[in-house]
């Protein structure tokens, strides 16, 4: 039994332990025991993933009693790419489990809640380990069921949870159906259900195209791309925060994994329109996601939309890689794919912290509306630091992981082949969209941090807030440290990404280009930086930081000298902005912060505004009260899903004509059906 196999089995065993602890442990000890076991399972996932990434191989296989007409065994055999994603899922899971020790109270800390969390994480860690279609679909369902239960955890407290759970369940099943169909096409065409055999079989032609489209729709639904993103902004806010963190940072990434798996391993070397399809899904998602995020004031909803944006960016990198590969530009294809994986890792790191931080805010203030938070940097300094670092990462500012990843992405973009007609027409547009996305992300996260933590508390909850308990702060600080570390030493991620793409199975396609060139295109360069010899660029954030410190040092010294002579004086009112400044109604809120943007994108967002002015009774020139209400709908949902749902409702009403509750009518249906069958047989 190889070390990798031990790791895989250990994950199963620890999951079992966690479920047992969740079910058997007494209530006060349950979060600690179940959370601890889940934490260990996450760590074992990290270790196993690292082994697989390092090139170790191993197979755990079990016979299935359900006959599917195939050689029905389920096999776990992670390759390097799978290893990277398993590592990611394990790390996110471990941090979230640590957090849950302090956080999981109430419904999220119930028997069901703790057990479902362990099952959810197990599914998540085993999806990238799957070596065949059966195992993939089974672990995928495990992940889906676990997360659905967790989304519904707090259904007793808020009504919206039920609707969110319904949306989530429906979309998840839609995703599963498409995957099932896609894999069925693949299995039939390749005469095997094992990934290795499918990769070796080289399926091509119409069948490959059909499978690609079905699988892409399925994975895009899981990844939350527009227009199948509708579950994200509903499910993420309503789920307990450690669950939303895992869902956003790791589960959504399984959609990315699926796409990368499809285009690099199962169906490599696809025609050019595949890349265009992915690009056409990805770029609008990035822009739409961040636009919605920038104008919403519900913190967790904001983070959910930002997930759509990031997945859009990741898949746009994948698409650039596919396009470059199909025009034979191997260096750019390799770099773009590495950028996609670096973005994936980076997003996992900062989004974990952001969701966990949002959970901490919710825990401390019972508010998740940014308009009612404020001034928390004083009462929750540790959470504020972690959240701030993660915001820098989300805004792709130096020197965080997001910055390094986006730098690689931009390098791949500007070195795209400008002689190729289609690419040269698309690249400027793609650059512009990504740049606008980055600009809006900057605004969004300045808003998220500045409004939540700075200025003055805007509600009683925010006034009486307190720092959260140790496991929770530890979890967010570990995550923030990871964001910084991956930013200072992006060479680590880049090398891991290049290694993952070198995977034995990953050939051709993004392909012939990527596998050989990813390693050649990415080196760690001097120190910890990223070097892209393929396109002649390098980045060393550590050196940049040193330079920044060197130039800032004199400023700090001068400030210190001046401060010794003229210390700061505390006053009640500096300038006051023309009024009494102690009122919490004075500072800008998140809604007012985003107002100029709403106006600029008025046509795209189409907000509904309601302005009511109540005049004083004595004179209509005196205003007694002004009430302003603004509502922003998700336009895709409004124009695409509402009509579809209304149509389904009408179909349901029609069906009621047939099904009126009369026993005789039902018996009549059976009778007619029997007759039809008999006639058909006699024929």
């Amino acid at each position: 039994m190889s070390l990798l196999e031990v790791g895989l089995v250990a994950q199963l065993a620890l999951a079992l332990l966690a479920v047992t602890a969740a079910v058997a442990a007494p209530t006060p000890l349950r979060p600690l025991l179940a959370g601890g076991a889940t934490l260990l399972m996450g760590l074992s996932g990290v270790a196993t993933g690292a082994l697989a990434l390092g090139g170790r191989t191993g197979i755990v296989s079990a016979p299935l009693t359900v006959g599917l007409g195939l050689d029905a065994r389920m096999t776990l055999a992670p390759d390097r790419l799978g290893g990277l994603f398993m590592l990611l899922a394990g790390a996110v899971g471990a941090v979230a489990a640590l957090y849950s020790v302090g956080y999981a109270r109430g419904p999220a800390g119930s028997r069901t809640g703790c057990a479902a969390f362990a099952v959810f994480l197990l599914g998540l860690q085993l999806v990238p380990a799957s070596g065949d279609v059966v195992a993939f679909l089974l672990t995928w369902e495990l992940m889906a069921i676990g997360s659905t239960i967790l989304v519904l955890a707090e259904h007793g407290r808020r009504d919206q949870v039920r609707s969110a759970g319904l949306w989530y369940a429906a979309m998840t099943h839609l995703s599963f159906l498409f995957l099932l169909a896609g894999f069925a096409v693949l299995t039939v065409a390749g005469h095997s259900s094992s990934f290795a055999a499918l990769a070796a079989g080289r399926i091509s032609g119409d069948q490959a195209g059909l499978a690609f489209v079905l699988l892409t729709i399925g994975f895009a639904t899981k990844a939350g791309l527009v227009p199948v993103h509708v579950w994200l902004p509903r499910a993420h806010p309503e789920a307990p925060s450690h669950v939303s963190a895992v869902m956003s940072a790791a589960m959504v990434k399984m959609g990315v994994y699926g796409v990368v798996l499809t285009v690099t391993r199962l169906l490599p070397g696809g025609p050019r329109w595949w890349g265009l399809v992915v690009l056409a899904l990805a770029l609008p998602s990035a822009l739409y996601g961040i636009l919605q995020a920038s104008v919403t004031s519900d913190l967790k909803r904001l983070l959910a939309y930002s997930t759509t944006e990031n997945v859009g960016l990741i898949l746009s990198a994948v698409a650039i890689s596919m396009l470059a590969a199909s025009s034979g530009d191997s260096a750019v294809a390799g770099v773009a794919m590495v950028a996609a994986l670096m973005l994936t890792v980076s997003h996992a790191a900062f989004k974990t912290v952001l969701f966990l931080g949002a959970g901490a805010l919710l825990h401390a203030t019972a508010e998740r509306d940014l308009d009612r938070l404020g001034g928390l940097v004083r009462s929750m300094p540790r959470t504020a630091v972690a959240f701030g670092v993660a915001c820098l990462g989300a805004a792709a500012l130096p020197v965080t992981s997001g910055f390094a990843a986006e730098w690689v992405l931009m390098q791949a973009r500007i070195h795209g082949d400008s002689r190729d007609q289609l690419t040269s027409a698309l690249l400027p547009a793609a650059i512009a969209v990504v740049a606008l996305t980055a600009g809006l992300a900057l605004l969004t996260f300045v808003k998220a941090f500045g409004i939540a933590f700075m200025a003055r508390p805007r509600s009683p909850g925010a006034t009486t807030a307190h720092e959260v308990n140790r496991p929770m702060t530890a979890a967010v600080l570990i995550g923030a440290a990871a964001v910084l570390a991956l930013g200072l030493a992006p060479g680590l991620t880049a090398t891991a990404a290049a290694t993952a793409l070198r995977s034995a199975g990953v050939v051709g396609a993004v392909g012939a280009a990527t596998t050989t060139s990813a390693a050649a295109a990415v080196g760690t360069g001097a120190g910890w930086g990223v070097a892209l010899p393929g396109i002649g660029a390098h980045l060393d954030p550590l050196a940049l930081t040193l330079l920044a410190l060197a130039v800032t040092l004199p400023v700090v010294l001068v400030t210190w000298l001046l401060a010794r002579r003229h210390p700061r004086r505390d006053v009640d009112l500096v300038w006051g902005g023309g009024g009494v400044r102690t009122s919490p109604r004075m500072p800008y809120t998140a809604t007012s912060f985003a107002e100029p943007l709403v106006r600029v994108f008025d046509d795209a967002l189409q907000p509904t505004r309601d302005l009511r002015v109540t005049h004083a009774q004595e004179s209509r020139y005196l205003v007694q009260e002004v009430s302003f209400h603004q509502h922003l709908d998700d336009r895709v949902e409004k124009s695409l899903y509402r009509p579809a749902i209304a149509m389904l409702d009408r179909a349901g009403d029609l069906a009621r004509l047939m099904q009126n509750g009369s026993m005789h009518r039902y018996l009549g249906f059976s009778f007619v059906a029997l007759l039809v069958v008999l006639v058909a047989v006699a024929w």
Binding site: W407, A432, L436, G439
Partner: protein, 316 residues
């Protein structure tokens, strides 16, 4: 002397030069404007006197303000880093920290974020208003910057600023090519927008309906205000110097020599002075745009940058 040490020295000289001259440039611009408007003006050294006065004053802190002291220092650090990264005097840059444009833009945005947070931290309506407008403009500016940069980088094949500048020195014809002109005009417009000059923001107004930059720093005082002002001047100075170097790369040191460095310094001062004076005289004739027509201006500059990219395909 090894090459690295020389380069570091030159970077230090560059920082020193801009630090010394950024306030003078502001003074010059104000003076030009004053003369054109028929006023006597306060003299080009007035900004330096203002800074000295602010340094001697004690900063005030209102309750609830947390980062009033740290953010100005961060902003100043970011501005200095920006100056250190740009190829203003020379085309040889530090090996470990290439002046890659994406890095430069990120450092610029770091400063933008610092000042926006300063506005939010003050907890007043004005601070938030300024921060909100500032970030909206910054978000809309970014596509133009990156597409313009892309247009400039196509002929050179790299996004390193020093490579772009030295390519322009080697082939002066490329400077007046349509690609480069369109991209430069687009870059110029976004520099104006990003640093809050007319017609996007009026640097000398305190009218609440229109102000952006001033609104954010309204609550700062003493040395905090001094740093913020100094850093903003430095930012504008560095960006103008960059545009000037792209438009007229002559004088930039390619082969190291003491005399060459001196010439480069003089050339840089002249270029920035001319550009600054031109902007100041242009501002006399400009009115501030309504805030919600600023996107039109930025969309216009974006289209220019976009056309520059398209044009570069025509001439390749």
């Amino acid at each position: 002397m090894s090459a690295t040490v020389t380069t570091m020295l030159l970077v230090a000289v560059q920082c020193g030069l801009l630090l010394a001259l950024a306030p003078v440039r502001v003074g010059l611009m104000r003076q030009v404007r004053a003369r054109l408007e028929g006023r006597a003006g306060a003299g080009v050294l007035q900004p330096w006197r203002d800074l000295a006065k602010l340094a001697r004053k004690e900063p005030l802190r209102a309750p609830g303000v947390r980062f009033g002291g740290a953010l100005p220092v961060l902003l100043m650090g970011a501005s200095l880093l920006l100056v250190a990264l740009l190829p203003l005097l020379q085309t040889a840059t530090l090996v470990a920290v290439p002046d890659d444009l994406f890095v430069v833009v990120s450092v610029l945005l770091l400063g933008t974020v610092a000042i926006a947070l300063l506005g939010l931290d003050s907890g007043t309506a004005f601070g938030g208003m300024g921060a909100s407008r500032h970030m909206t403009v910054a978000a809309l500016v970014e596509p133009t910057i990156l597409v313009a940069v892309y247009a400039l980088s196509i002929p050179v094949g790299t996004s390193n600023l020093s490579a772009i500048v030295s390519a322009r020195l080697d082939h002066p014809a490329t400077v007046v090519a349509p690609v480069s002109l369109l991209a430069l005009v687009a870059l110029f417009i976004v520099v104006i927008a990003e640093t809050g000059r007319l017609p996007v923001d009026n640097p000398s107004t305190h009218l609440e309906l229109t102000m952006i930059h001033e609104a954010m720093i309204l609550e700062s005082s003493g040395r905090d205000l001094g740093w913020v002002e100094y850093a903003s001047w430095l930012r504008l100075g560095a960006l103008l110097a960059l545009v000037a170097n792209l438009a007229a790369p002559w004088g930039v040191v390619q082969h190291l020599h003491v005399l060459a460095v001196l010439i480069a310094m003089v050339a840089l001062v002249l270029k920035v002075a001319v550009l600054g004076a031109a902007i100041a005289s242009g501002e006399v004739f400009l009115a501030k745009l309504r805030l919600f027509r600023v996107p039109e201006l930025l969309a216009g500059s974006f289209v220019l940058a976009f056309l520059a990219v398209t044009a570069s395909y025509l001439t390749v």
